[in-house]
């Protein structure tokens, strides 16, 4: 007997999709829990939008299953699925008013006129557009249009809300605001949401879980912290934020102390192994720029201290970004709160690399 696990809201099983002979989805499987906000992120052409369109029913899959709340839906047209999509360009009907746009789906469901009106008012309030119901679409700002699109998608209380790059048409500041609002709204309504974006920072800041995709394959699924701190391959590591890679060969492993050393082009580096490794194994160390400490004098009582020379220094206020050469290897370093200690090019500096370095466990997945 197994303990019954809660049925996921959305279950994707082995989804394959071809365009002509090009396979754009190569057997994608994953689950989305009820009330969760999951982000599909990846470079353009990775298949994230196609996957979203498959869930929404706009693109047919070639094989695999889409299961929504325990029901298989991949054979259903979009109008018979309990998913609602918000397109990148909002796709608001330009020949209708805001209220007509939001009430479009309700009218199709044959709601009574006054009920529709009530619901539209409610939704307008929800997206903070009270009183704009009678406006035409082209009289709205970009942010307002985004809200209308959201309200329209929410009008029928879908089981899953699909958002296709919803913020990409907004300017930077509005984007940040809307990002927060969408997340707040999603948490308040506890609506299962899939969010597609190519912006990794957007993904990091908004999601419960992130699905990183590349060339039609899921590279990693995890919380933003997992993705950032423990990327499973080089692609993910460099996709989410800046990263220094350091290749080396394991020299010594001390299981008792949980320590190991590896010889690298900059010298011997000590690190805490996250998994079982063997002497002689090739490893790739992932060192985030902000984890490296930079100082003028040599720090004492610490391992992994290396001397280098500043090549480029950029002062950004809250931090300083450096390129430092050690033994011909280039390192990117973020120094928080630099103030008076900002280093100039050609200055000699000491770098202190932390011991709890992440190791890549596998390389990219191709199929």
């Amino acid at each position: 007997m197994t303990i019954p696990t809660p049925i996921p809201m959305l279950n994707l099983i082995e989804i394959h999709k071809f365009y002509d002979r090009l396979e754009v989805l190569k057997g994608v499987s994953m689950e989305v829990k009820k009330g969760e906000l999951v982000t599909f992120v990846g470079p353009s052409g990775c298949g994230k939008t196609t996957l979203l369109r498959i869930i929404g029913g706009f693109t047919n899959l070639d094989s695999g299953e889409v299961i929504l709340d325990g029901q298989r839906i991949d054979h259903l047209p979009p109008n018979l699925r309990d998913t609602r999509i918000c397109f990148q360009n909002y796709a608001l009907f330009p020949h209708m008013t805001v209220a007509d746009n939001i009430g479009y789906g309700l009218k199709i469901k044959k709601w009574k006129k006054n009920k529709i009106q009530e619901r539209v008012e409610e939704l307008l309030k929800l997206v903070q557009l009270e009183g704009l119901g009678s406006r035409m679409i082209d009289k709205l700002s970009g942010g307002q249009q985004q809200r209308v699109a959201l309200a329209r998608a929410l009008s029928l209380e879908p089981k899953v809300l699909l958002l296709d790059e919803p913020l990409s048409n907004l300017d930077a500041n509005l984007r940040l605001t809307m990002r927060g609002e969408i997340r707040k709204l999603q948490e308040r309504l506890k609506i299962t949401t899939i969010f597609v974006t190519h912006d990794q920072f957007e993904a990091m800041s908004i999601s419960d879980r992130i699905v990183v995709m590349k060339e039609g394959v899921i590279q990693q699924v995890g919380s933003p912290i997992e993705i950032y701190e423990r990327p499973s391959n080089e692609f993910i590591a460099s996709f989410v934020g800046f990263v220094n890679f350091l290749e080396g060969v394991v020299e010594r492993v001390d299981i008792g102390l949980n320590k190991a050393t590896a010889s690298t082009p900059i010298g011997v580096v000590q690190f805490v192994p996250e998994r079982n490794i063997n002497v002689g194994e090739k490893v790739k160390l992932v060192i985030r720029p902000e984890t490296i400490q930079i100082s003028q004098s040599e720090p004492t009582g610490m391992n992994n201290i290396f001397q280098g020379e500043v090549e480029i220094g950029m002062y950004v206020g809250s931090l300083a970004k450096y390129t430092v050469m050690i033994n011909g290897e280039k390192f990117i370093i973020d120094q928080p709160n630099p103030r008076e200690t900002f280093f100039k090019p050609k200055e000699k500096v000491y770098l202190s690399i932390p011991e709890n370095i992440h190791l890549l466990i596998k390389t990219e997945i191709h199929q």
């Binding site: 397109f87 990148q88 796709a91 020949h95 469901k109």
Partner: protein, 562 residues
């Protein structure tokens, strides 16, 4: 490069000053020249028709109009014409929409073949369908005999069928163009919100296509009531204004009554033109970030798919069969009488000169038309002079002017000195230039709206004078519009009959007129063979043009701004 000296030495010679003046005022000078051309070659001929209709040797008179409105015959003719225009427009729009929907939203395998066949009539003279109807449904027609049919094609219904088939591609092309640029997400959104396909078409697709559909309707209406080939061949004794005008001018030299009929013919067109402009104001829907995307093939619901396919296939089948029988007739000795395969029709070279003239005229017209169209578009969009809107309206009015009327206008306006142009090739070319100008102008305007004026200002800022800016910046950007104007003018000019039929003269006859004569005369074999030769040449020309434009990186099939 800018002449720095002109600043340091302001009192240089007259030539320098003139040059500076021209450079500064070039756009206004250009506008003046273009307006003069429009006035001479578009407004003056129409005016000439109007004047002719209200003048007799004694002076101003309305006697001819009185005659028109008191004779039942003319009234009947007007009624038939309007009814024909109306029925045809409706059918063409419905069929055009179904076909456009199928080729942009329907099953992938069907898209290309449907598109190609739907566009075939564009490259043939419109009265090809009169010929094919006679071959199939004439009293001795193939189908009439095979099924003992009792359908008389000589009359109203025959003309309707032929004209519909001839102008389906026009409606199709325009609607397809707007459908292509319609953001597919809009329909998908409606689908997503629970709408059925039928409901999407009703509440989203068609309302959003209104501008394109209106435009297509206007064009089809004007073409239907003006192109008289089908009506002249199949009309029998059913009167229509355009062929009547033709008979009056060509057969009886009754220019006064012919002018009256022309003016009457032009009235509904102008009304529709203004109505269309009025309806369009405020209806140009813009969508954010909506690039033209070919939407993904979706599973069309049978409720929509079946009727669309039935309508689409019927039309496409009829077009295909029409071309088929005409091809067959061009290799048959006497179709329906002596069904022997012969090559004598194809090898009859009497029409070669006419075909050659047609190509020559169409090429000249296309080149001049494309140049004037591009310049006009530029002047309209960037100029800041009084009367800009007027110029725009005049240059776009070509959409609404029946060919017959312009033809007669040219005959009246350019038959006597100082503008004696009849009896030459230029009058044919100029006529085509100004009749088909609208497409190039419109494509140019929409292209120019896409580019920011700042690019030009940046260029001027860098010291380039107007000519350099125009040559280096504007021309390359407008090249697709130039090509669109060129191709549209070429294709339409080479098969059009309604205007040029009044202007041909010995040595300057055209293939379209020659085929019409042969068809009217009853020589179906010769008419068919000449049609097929013309079609082959048009296809060849299009292929060469396509190749050349592709070489330069412009895909004409995409940039056709019709």
């Amino acid at each position: 490069m800018a002449k720095a000296e002109s600043y340091s030495v302001p009192q240089s010679n007259v030539w320098e000053r003139l040059k500076t003046f021209i450079n500064a005022e070039l756009i206004n000078i250009l506008a003046a020249i273009l307006f003069l051309l429009l006035a001479i070659f578009l407004l003056y001929p129409i005016l000439a028709v109007l004047i002719k209709s209200i003048r007799d040797p004694q002076g101003l008179t309305f006697a001819y109009y009185l005659k028109f409105f008191t004779k039942g015959y003319y009234f009947q003719s007007l009624q038939n014409t309007l009814l024909l225009g109306f029925i045809n427009t409706v059918i063409c729009l419905v069929v055009g929409f179904c076909l456009a929907y199928l080729t942009t939203r329907g099953p992938l395998v069907l898209r290309k073949p449907l598109k190609i066949i739907s566009m075939m009539p564009l490259i043939a003279p419109p009265y090809l369908f009169a010929i094919s109807l006679i071959i199939l449904f004439g009293r001795n027609g193939i189908l009439t005999k095979a099924f003992a049919l009792n359908w008389s094609i000589y009359g109203f219904t025959g003309v309707v069928v032929a004209q519909t088939l001839a102008f389906i591609p026009l409606a199709y092309l325009m609607i397809e163009n707007t459908l292509m640029s319609l953001n597919p997400n809009l329909e998908e959104s409606a689908y997503d919100l629970g709408a059925s396909e039928g409901r999407i078409i009703r509440t989203i697709t068609i309302p959003l296509l209104t501008p394109g559909i209106l435009k297509a309707g206007l064009l089809v209406f004007v073409m239907t009531i003006a192109e008289f080939g089908n009506a002249a061949i199949l009309g029998g004794r059913t009167p229509f204004l355009a062929p009547d005008t033709y008979t009056m001018i060509i057969g009886e030299a009754d220019f006064e009554m012919g002018s009256v009929l022309s003016v009457i013919l032009i009235i509904p067109c102008i009304i529709i033109f203004f109505l269309h402009n009025y309806l369009l104001t405020g209806k140009k829907f813009t969508t954010i970030g909506g690039k033209p995307v070919a939407s993904e093939p979706r599973k069309m619901t049978p409720l929509v798919k079946i009727p669309f396919l039935v309508i689409g296939f019927t039309a496409v089948f009829a077009i295909f069969i029409s071309f088929g029988v005409v091809l067959m007739a061009s290799f048959t000795k006497i179709l329906g009488v002596k069904n022997e395969i012969v090559f004598s029709h194809i090898l009859n070279f009497d029409s070669n000169r006419a075909i050659y003239n047609s190509i020559q005229v169409s090429l000249i017209a296309a080149l001049i038309g494309a140049i004037i169209g591009t310049l006009l578009a530029y002047v309209i969009v960037r100029g800041k002079f009084f009367g800009r809107t007027f110029i725009e309206m005049v240059s776009l009015s070509g959409f609404a002017l029946p060919g017959t009327v312009i033809g007669i206008g040219y005959l009246l306006a350019f038959n006597t000195p100082p503008f004696k142009l009849t009896g030459g090739i230029m009058i044919l070319a100029l006529n085509c230039v100004f009749r088909f100008l609208a497409v190039g102008v419109e494509a140019g305007i929409s292209k120019l709206h896409q580019i920011n004026i700042e690019i030009e200002e940046a260029s001027s800022d860098l010291g380039a004078n107007f000519m350099t800016t125009f040559y280096k910046i504007i021309l390359p950007i407008m090249f697709p519009a130039f090509i669109a104007g060129f191709i549209y003018t070429f294709m339409t000019a080479i098969v059009s009959l309604s205007a040029v039929v009044f202007l041909v003269s010995p040595g300057f006859e055209l293939a379209a007129v020659k085929i019409f004569d042969a068809a009217v005369y009853g020589e179906i074999g010769l008419a068919s063979a000449t049609t097929m030769k013309l079609v082959a040449i048009v296809v060849l020309c299009m292929m060469i043009l396509n190749y050349l434009t592709k070489k330069t990186g412009f895909d004409i099939t995409q940039k056709k701004g019709v």
